[in-house]
Symmetry: T
Subunit: 158 residues, 12 copies
């Protein structure tokens, strides 16, 4: 049994309350509940954390380094600006799947680069809240994989 | 019942025969068989096409425009060079999930930009052959989704 | 009657105490008092918030979304670095006037781009502490305007 | 008593006659009349000039250098292309407030840089025709200011 | 019956007198006469204007906005430098065909970008004085076209 | 009597069947028939070729080098990516008029540069299917021209 | 007697616990103790502060402006992203020696620029934990220096 | 006997009246008189023209093409922005010496490139009003030179 | 005995028939015959392939991976555009000597970068058809070399 | 006992004689004497070399490769231009501490990049002549260090 | 009486012997003799130095700092590459006129930037060997000038 | 009989003594002897020169301009920095084959551009010491070639 933790960056606490015609009306709490159920069916524990502050997110990543096996990470706008979060990830070497609600390639140019993707196991983006479900599936593949076919592509800093 | 088609670009016919320690020893044929099974369990038909030639891939996309509902598309190296394939996708307006075996953010700079992502429903990359399985799951979410929550993020050219 | 809120970013709590020959000796508290008087004369309520932390500023913007009608916003150095603050503004769709004490065009190159101006109603910059007074006048014009002549230029994300 | 002069660049003579749903139906003549009244209430004289030709605008700036105390300057499209107008301003050292009807940050990239802002006292942009009123208020602050708090930020070429 | 107007920018009054081995010895007056004949055969009126001054060209475009239906526009060197002319075109929304004597792609790099092409119906360049004749033919197609096939590609600012 | 050949690049076989509200419902076959008639009226032979494959287009250009006098060339998306097609044109030195249905200046940035224009006699773009008719007229001018006035602008690589 | 304060940015609290083969196993607490001893031998007081949050670091710099004479500053990842910290340093004009554990020139390109070095007295980087000892020696030179030879190179913003 | 003409661009009519501590107090009229004397001593006629308008300068260059042998040309700020003036020079092929009062390499980056230098016989810049005298000397060398040693470096467009 | 294969990209089938004053009149067939003779003298087998299509070249490279020991590769214009060919080379890890008829450094800027050189054993370019002969000599050195002195510089992807 | 050698590049022989108010009046000879004393106290031998010629510096580095253990290297202006010196360092693999009198981040942009830092053990810059003393201390730390904590950061070419 | 020294960089010793049709057949010795005569007529002493080595040129500049009042400096190809020569000039603060035989604006792009012009009194370029004569005249003006009109433009590092 | 001269730039005197596992243990002297033998068998004289100083290399190139027919030139690190060497080559117009031991495309980016290749007959790089042998073969081809097929690609400055 492993611990899977979901980490959400700034403004994601508003999920489901803003622009429901675009993102749907499902709230962050509902998503978390569904992921929790799926993870526990697969025999794993599920935890989560959301904060608007860069420093608080770094603190959390440092704290879970010895308890969590893998993270689902949606850094929000810090995707494009936070080297300090990148350093936290590098320091604790926590494997993670990066995910985004929207397809970043359709956004403005300042959102075309992520400080995290080259450290991630892989990337899921553009499927709305379903990105959370798919990222969890990807994490389950990762945890289940024991042959080099999957782990052969290291999650470390290339 | 919808038709889901898998389109593979250049050199992907070599899957499973080159660098097995990196990509695993599963051949393209085996992956296709597994996807076929999963799609048919979900009540859909599954077809596939691979070619090393840009022109042949364009021909195929033009042909399936009236029969396929969604594509799983791994353009291989044409991801970064083929505007003509992009035009074919734009012309036939076929919804698709873009997928890559490797995490492009870990590759050389010339592979950092995709001509397709801003047209895709979403992107799955970096999970080795499991990227194919996750892309199929994403397609199934897309086909099942009827509310604006999912379809609200259009796959068209923004 | 509307609520007008003044939001000040990092280091602006030092106003009036640093470099008085450059910025004058008027403290932030005195400016706030003068703006409060002017706003109440015009029949509006006036609130204010200053913080050095990006996360605390995001929290505040989320909180006032249902109570404030318009903001006067001086993001300080976060003008140039914080996409997360930009996202908060985008999420709550709070109309605001951007203001700066100094004329940014006279500053170093890293300060030439603002992450906020394209979301603002308009921009006032370079008039020292009088920038606060002029921004308040601009907000009063905005609240008083009912014809398309003024509101025709939307404050949303173009 | 000082002389305040309003200088309008190319195509601004069309104000109020083009795209009234966007800019309102107030004509340039009406704006000028309102500014004249406000300036004379404050004890100052008000003059104005509009021309589509770069050379004629330079001629005017050279002429008013000994009579005007401050200018309100909307260079129109010359904002982005005219170094010769910039030189005229530099040569006669006329203090000025730069103003724009629209929020330039929402326009195409070629309009992101102004040849004038680093020479201006300050900038007012994006409030439609109210930008003229706010620029006049800013000029009145400037003329009234005698302490270093305001004048400490020089209008010269940094 | 529509009015078609030909607008020529700086130095085009020299046509036929400079470098006859390159541009031929046909003078601007002769070209105008031939276009006039062709336009009147097609049942339209033809007018023309040439000037070396940016301001005079803007004045002319503002004047013909209510009388001309379409323009043939060769902006000469202002093609690459005049945002003010672009603004005049945007303000009066006069449909026009852009034309050049030479193939700009064969010229120096500073001539590779036009401030007008994205506003034009279309572009004809590189056929020497025959560019004028072809631009007139294009204008006749435009005036004759009533179905969406032609007008579907709007001449406005995209 | 000369041979005029029309060469169409990838996806242009779909003309008239995709987005009829944008491009009209005229099919490629109909356009070809009309051009054939006009060419034969002018005393010339007309041939045509369309293919989605870069290699097939190169083969065709090599084949017609001794039979065709001039080409009308719409390279489609290969306009921006194919140096190999450019080399074919350079090798056989076939004079050609470049044409595009749409006004490229209104398209995304990756379509702002053409690998062919600096080799073309001239360029016609943005007039929908009428671009084909105008390009044919341009070719007829070229074939009829015997003085230096027209041919003085060489079609070779400058 | 002067106060020397050590300021450490994000993730530096992990010193000695991550990658001991790279950075050694000496913990931050041990380093602080050694520096404290050396400073007090030289007749100075030593204080220190570490935090993962940008806002908390700004708060601290504002607080020590009247008590500390010089800082040893390792901004961690904020070296490259925080203009707000730069502004805090500019506002309080605290002299400081910038230091880094690693040689930034050997890191990825996004770490090649520091927002602080042009404000620092000088820079020590690349000597592992010994960078702290060398930075303290540099600070002692600075405090001891009274002739223009050393102070001639101002620490202000050039 | 040849005609040497001096052409001055925008704002140069102010010479001697602005910033005398920088440019000296000699007026443009005095400079012209001295050059006239020197030219007539050398057996040549001297004419001059100054204007703030781009169009008027183009008109003048077109007019003197058959009477003047060489020009001394100080384009002022049009040095960096006017392709239309460049075209006028190219069209009439008037040999000229480019001159500037100030050393452009010491000015802001937008003044680092001249549209004229590659067309000039040569360049004299940075000697204050003495640049006019030196440019005249250079023109006299040019007129006197008959061997290939000097004329070998053509003034045309390379 | 090894197999040496010569691979020629697009337009190289025209060798000897185009621009004989530049490339000589030797046809591709004659070059192949001479190389064949030299290779067989050295005890090796020689094969060759030319095609204008990117896909056909990829197919060929995949086919010869188990039979050929080394390739002489002239990718023609695909040198600069084909990542798919690069991937094919990477996949089959076929050692090759890159060769070009012309000196690429004398060509236009778009031909300054090769997608292949960093994968090649080495490069021979600029010697006309003799580049083929020199590349064969280089291949013979490579096959004959058994010490680290030569093989120490690996042909793999660095 | 190790040999520590100090290498000074161009113009550093002028130390102490130029701009004494900036750099102090201490001559290079005096600095060398002090370093010599400190090195010998620490049990090491100290040598030094200064030259204005790039070639002579390369010769020296080649000569000391077998005798010196570490260098203190101030490359002067060659810091930014000399790849040949970089090659010499790479060839002989001499460990070195890079040092500069001034803080390069305060100098013009062309001095922002060093060809040496990514090869150095570490960097000391901006402390005037004290930079020499601090660099020597850093070298002593390096020589004394035997655990991976210090040597773990290799001086080689990353 | 002042000393004027002429400094010539690499390859200028070949003057008069290479490409006489371009540069004339006058040798460097003859030019020097003529300049010497002119300088002595004006009451000054004239010295000269040529060398192909960067180091030797630096040595010379250091040597003449106390004897020469002004230099005529043609740095040859070091114009574009030598920061060390720039440093030598900066260190000794020798006023100089920069000169070039050819018009650099007509040369390849790598020669468009000079490391010296922003330090020079002024620049003379493009007049063949007459550039030497004109630079001497400029130096004589400089030495004769005593009012701020000329010296107001400092030769120092801006 | 012609003279072939080998010119080696900085650090190449170390050949065979540094990194023998990479470059082999063959010394420069041994290479020279082998080339000498091959050249004399082909009926030519062979000379050679190596120096670390840019000036000395320029002197040598100037000296051999009348005696040598062709050079084999390995500029070492001056490949990327020395315009003065480029000028020397341009001045004496000595035909040369450029050669490098390593494949520059595998080196750091600053080594991607050569100041010499566009002047060379051709380029041989990446074959270790065998690059010398292949360059000599290329030179022999060049000397033997009398038809335009080879000489058609001029070695001059394009």
């Amino acid at each position: 049994m492993s611990v899977i933790t979901l980490i959400n960056g700034p403004n994601l606490n508003l999920l489901g309350t803003r622009e429901p015609d675009l993102y749907g009306s499902e709230r962050l709490g509902e998503v978390i509940q569904r992921l929790e159920t799926r993870a526990s069916q697969a025999g794993h524990q599920f935890t989560h954390f959301q904060n608007n502050s860069e420093g608080a997110l770094i603190d959390y990543i440092q704290e879970v380094q010895h308890t969590a096996s893998i993270a689902l990470f949606n850094p929000g706008a810090y995707t494009h600006t936070s080297l300090a979060l990148r350093d936290a990830i590098l320091a604790v070497r926590l494997p993670f799947v990066e995910l985004h609600l929207t397809n970043l390639a359709k956004r403005e140019s300042v959102r075309q680069h992520s400080h995290f993707t080259d450290l991630a196991i892989g990337l899921v983006s553009g499927f709305g809240v379903a990105s959370y479900d798919l990222a969890l599936e990807a994490a389950l593949y990762y945890l289940a994989s024991t042959t080099s076919s999957f782990r052969g592509i290291p999650h470390g800093h290339s």
